[in-house]
């Protein structure tokens, strides 16, 4: 997607998305017409079916597929819902409107077929992902967005964003408040104009982001601080990737020291299992993990919590996860299972509020060769 003619490009994308959706409906039509059982084949979306794409350096779905078929009542319901969703999305694109995933869920209540209505939002979210995969069109191009993005950027970066109210030029330190620049749902509407940044620092928790901003870390070290806000939204991951690819900035990720946070890093760097079909578009394989590492718990003698049973299970499952099959992760996860402890980012405050910005991050980033 070129930044030069975003307007026409977007229209083209929309048209293609619409065609793809209708193509899917037509496939069902033909299956009925031939007396075949309507079905839709998708890659199996489990961790056992993701493979490393050497070329792109990301994890994508493997060869295993599952079939949603009208052969069973369950499958037939899913296909019915898919067709209804296709109709809705096609119409939305035609009218150049957009809606949120949650709106789709509620909107289904108004559909004339009770069988087509969604029973949970997970169901509608999953269906949109299914449609992305079979149509090869991203959710953003369907004009579907999550309820809230939540993610914000702060740093020496100047951008131009296309909004419904015209283009805006924004400097992500000077033109924004304490909260930073809010990433839009479709970050491909952003054009990078200028930057003085040295690297991108993705931070898991809001508290730590605020601490870094308050301590002037972004200014002192010329870093673009990206708030992940837990499992990062696609827009956040897409923006991070663009910052890396287009501006050639190194990306580091700073999270809690527990198995769930490693998964956050995993989805930034390698792509998530649920959206492995978009890994090439969302993942930043060059991203590096700053901490908190189990090693840090030992080295800095951080205050800790004991591992719960579910933590242990998650760690063990990560040992099996193909995305974590590196020496670094094997070593760290085994160490953590050994010490049976986990620590939050905020645990660094035990050594003073400035410890993270004055000591920990400079030390770690130095070790990693970013600073």
């Amino acid at each position: 997607m070129s930044a030069d003619t975003p307007e026409s490009d977007t229209r083209l994308n929309e048209e293609k998305a619409r065609e793809q959706l209708i193509e899917l409906a037509a496939e069902f039509y033909d299956q009925f017409d031939h007396g075949d059982i309507p079905e839709m084949t998708l890659p199996t979306r489990t961790k056992s079916n993701i493979v490393f794409d050497e070329e792109a350096g990301v994890w994508v779905y493997g060869d295993r597929t599952s079939t949603r078929s009208a052969n069973s009542v369950r499958g037939a319901r899913k296909l019915l819902k898919a067709v209804y969703a296709v109709e809705f999305l096609a119409q939305q694109l035609e009218e150049n409107r957009s809606s949120t995933l949650r709106e789709l869920y509620y909107l289904s209540e108004s559909w004339d077929s009770e069988e087509a209505q969604f029973s949970t939002q997970d169901e509608s979210n999953q269906l949109i992902e299914d449609l992305e995969i079979v149509s090869g069109v991203t959710r953003e191009d369907f004009h579907m967005r999550p309820e809230e993005s939540g993610a914000k950027v702060m740093g020496p970066l100047k951008i131009r964003e296309q909004t419904r109210r015209g283009d805006r030029e924004i400097h992500c330190q000077e033109d924004v408040g304490q909260g930073g620049y809010q990433i839009p749902n479709n970050p491909d509407t952003i054009e990078f104009l200028d930057n003085d940044a040295e690297f991108v620092l993705c931070v898991e928790t809001g508290g730590m982001r605020d601490r870094l901003v308050e301590n002037g870390f972004d200014v002192d070290y010329d870093s673009i601080v990206v708030h992940l806000g837990g499992q990062p939204a696609r827009a956040t991951r897409r923006l991070t990737k663009r910052l890396h690819d287009e501006l050639d900035l190194p990306v580091v990720v700073f999270c809690d020291g527990d198995p769930w946070s490693y998964r956050i890093f995993g989805s930034v760097a390698y792509g998530s299992i649920k959206s492995a079909h978009l890994s090439e578009y969302l993942a930043t394989p060059e991203a590096k993990y700053v901490g908190i590492r189990p090693q840090d718990i030992v080295d800095y003698d951080l205050p800790t919590d004991p591992l719960s049973d579910s933590d242990v299970n998650a760690l063990e499952s990560e040992l099996e996860d193909p995305r974590f099959q590196t020496d670094f992760w094997t070593e760290q996860i085994e160490l953590q299972l050994d010490i049976e402890k986990k620590a939050e980012q905020q645990a660094l405050a035990a050594q003073g509020l400035d410890f993270v910005t004055d000591t920990y991050l400079p030390e770690r980033l130095g070790e990693m060769g970013v600073l």
């Binding site: 209708i22 409906a25 037509a26 069902f28 039509y29 299956q31 009925f32 017409d33 007396g35 075949d36 059982i37 309507p38 009208a70 052969n71 069973s72 009542v73 037939a76 319901r77 296909l79 019915l80 067709v83 209804y84 296709v86 109709e87 096609a90 077929s113 069988e115 087509a116």
Partner: protein, 801 residues
Amino acid sequence: MTSFQSQLGEDQGIADELAEGQREISIAEFFEKNKHMLGFDSGARGLVTAVKEAVDNALDACEEAGIRPDIYVEIREVGDYYRLIVEDNGPGITKAQLPKVFGKLLYGSRFHAREQSRGQQGIGISAAVLYSQLTSGKPAKITSRPKGEADAQYFELIIDTDTNEPEIKAERTTSWDRSHGTRIEVEMEANMRARQQLHDYIKHTAVVNPHARLELREPGLDAPLKFERGTDQLPAETEEIRPHPHGVELGTLIKMLEATESYSVSGFLQEEFTRVGRKTADKVVDNFRDRHFGRELGWSADEEPVTAALTDAVSNKGAAATGFFAEEVASTLASRERTSYSELVGIVDNVAEAAEDEYGTRFGATVRENAVAAAWAAMTAFDADEDVDELTDDLYPLVDEATSTRKDDAVVAGMAERLARRFAADDERTRATHKRLQALVDEAADDTEEFDDATFGDTARENVVEALWSRMVTVPDDVPKVREAAERRDTASELLEAMRETDILAPPTDCLAPITSELVEAGLRKEFDADFYAAATRDAEVHGGDPFIVEAGIAYGGELDEGGQVDLLRFANRVPLVYQRGACATTDVVKRIGWRNYGLDQPGGSGMPNGPAVIMIHVASTNVPFTSESKDALANIPAIEDEIELAVREAARELKSYLNKRRSMQKRREKQDVLGRILPEMADKVAEVTGRERPNIDAALARIMNNVGIERERDGDTVRLIVENHSDRNEAPDVTDIVSVEPTDVPEEATVVDLDGEWFVKWNPTVAAGEEAVLEYTVAGDAEFDVNVDGIETEKLTVNA
């Protein structure tokens, strides 16, 4: 001392006084006081019991005469009393018998017969008469018209409870519109609180007697309850059988011994019992001998000493003859492993006769006796003091064989020696019954334990007894005659044991008339509106010499009551059992079965199952073991319970496969219902989105449901009927295509029938799983088609033609 005398005198006075009050009690009087024993414990129950007894009698009478029963039961309120009328179309009762049948307890034809019948004791109907006269004071009114007679007899009678004899109050000849039959009318104090049981009894009677027509009128019914015949087939006629040797008890046996005209036991056995012929009788008699006389243990013989002893014993017969005789006997004995006393007698007789022939010298009885005594003495010489012992060596291998290898040789030798001493002292001919043998072995073993400081346990003792007993031989003595056995209880008891011991063929079953599984099912079908019926009849089995057959049936679904426990119908010899369900063996068996396995709900996994089902169990036997005289519940006899369980399980297995199939059909229906809703909606939507016409989804649906799809294609005048089999097995639908215009070019595999301007094209292809079959024919011009498909469940069929 005088005071003693007077006390004694007083005692005698009391005994006299007591004697004055003592008198015989008539059976009628006894039951007058013990009505409950016969099922007349309350007014409600009394009425049901009276109906039951009268109807049972009526059915028995009809069947015996080969008449299809037509029975009419009426209950009327008459002032404070209820009047019960039961009429049948049976053969009638002769004028002479009638008063006794109804007016005398324990009078009947059934008690002594080993044959399946409803009534057994001859108490029932006369007890009803007794009960009515006790409560209402009114006589029973009986009309009977024997088959072939012009007039009917009318009696009014009561039972004289002092004498248990009928007392006729009125008697006259009357006319009756039935050509033959019997009618009884009794009035009794009663109530209709047991209406449900009464209805159950009649209805259940109809279930197990599908050949009978029943009608019930009672005050609570607006219209009479009528149960029509389900079959014209009468139950198979039963043969009366003699008792089976395994089924008699000592008292009965003694009575039979006293009554028989046979002289010998063998003759008695063959004459009086079923399944006993010459061979079986011989076996029994041998067993009887063993018990009565005991068996004899034989011993080995050394040729030289026996020859010497025999030579000494025979005098004046000449050297040659004596020598021949002695050597011949001794060599025969020596060649045998062991010889018992009786066998020795036989050998001596044989050789003596041979010697007589050879030498012309007479070997008389005395000589022979002397010879036997001498040879026997030589063979069995035993004198511990003199160190003479011919016995121990013969016993040692037997004891050794019977005891475990861990026994010390000295212990085995000691045991053998002690046994030898006891045999020497016990009986000259070393003869012993099994019991006596046990005693001998026990004594010897006790001594062995005491003196040899060894253990000689029960198993070892038993083994020794069996080892000896199996070597001992039956004696040829004549068994006691029947007269002796009848006189001596012990002898009779020995005979009974011998009879029980002997393997004898199970009794014949033609004395039984099972309903048969077809008619059990027909009976259930007739009285219960259900979806499913199953029935099973087991082969005959024997308990205590009485053969029995168990049958079970199950009805399920339909109009049967959904909630609560299943209905259990119990029958014995075709008589419904309505009271004491909880005490009945059938109930216990049903509760024991794990019904969840058979698809019925059973809270807690045991107990009565729940669901819309009727389980019926019928036990037919020449002697149904009831828990009491009122015949309400079957006793818990393991042999019968086992058969009940097998019969019920057999029927339940069919129920299970039916329920499984029903469930899978139900699932299929539900799936088809839901898909039948979803897929059209989906088709509509894809048509809308793609802007095309609605696609036809029938083929896809048929494929999804693994159904058999029938489709019609028409191309000009050519009509094609296509059968697509999407199921996983062969299907053979019966397709009938009804066409309004005459079809032509119909291939050979189909037939065309012209019916009043409509043509029926009949075609039944067999289509393999996943295949299709096509029928092509030609119809000129406009035509209407109507296809009809049989041979495939509607759930599995998608017709689009």
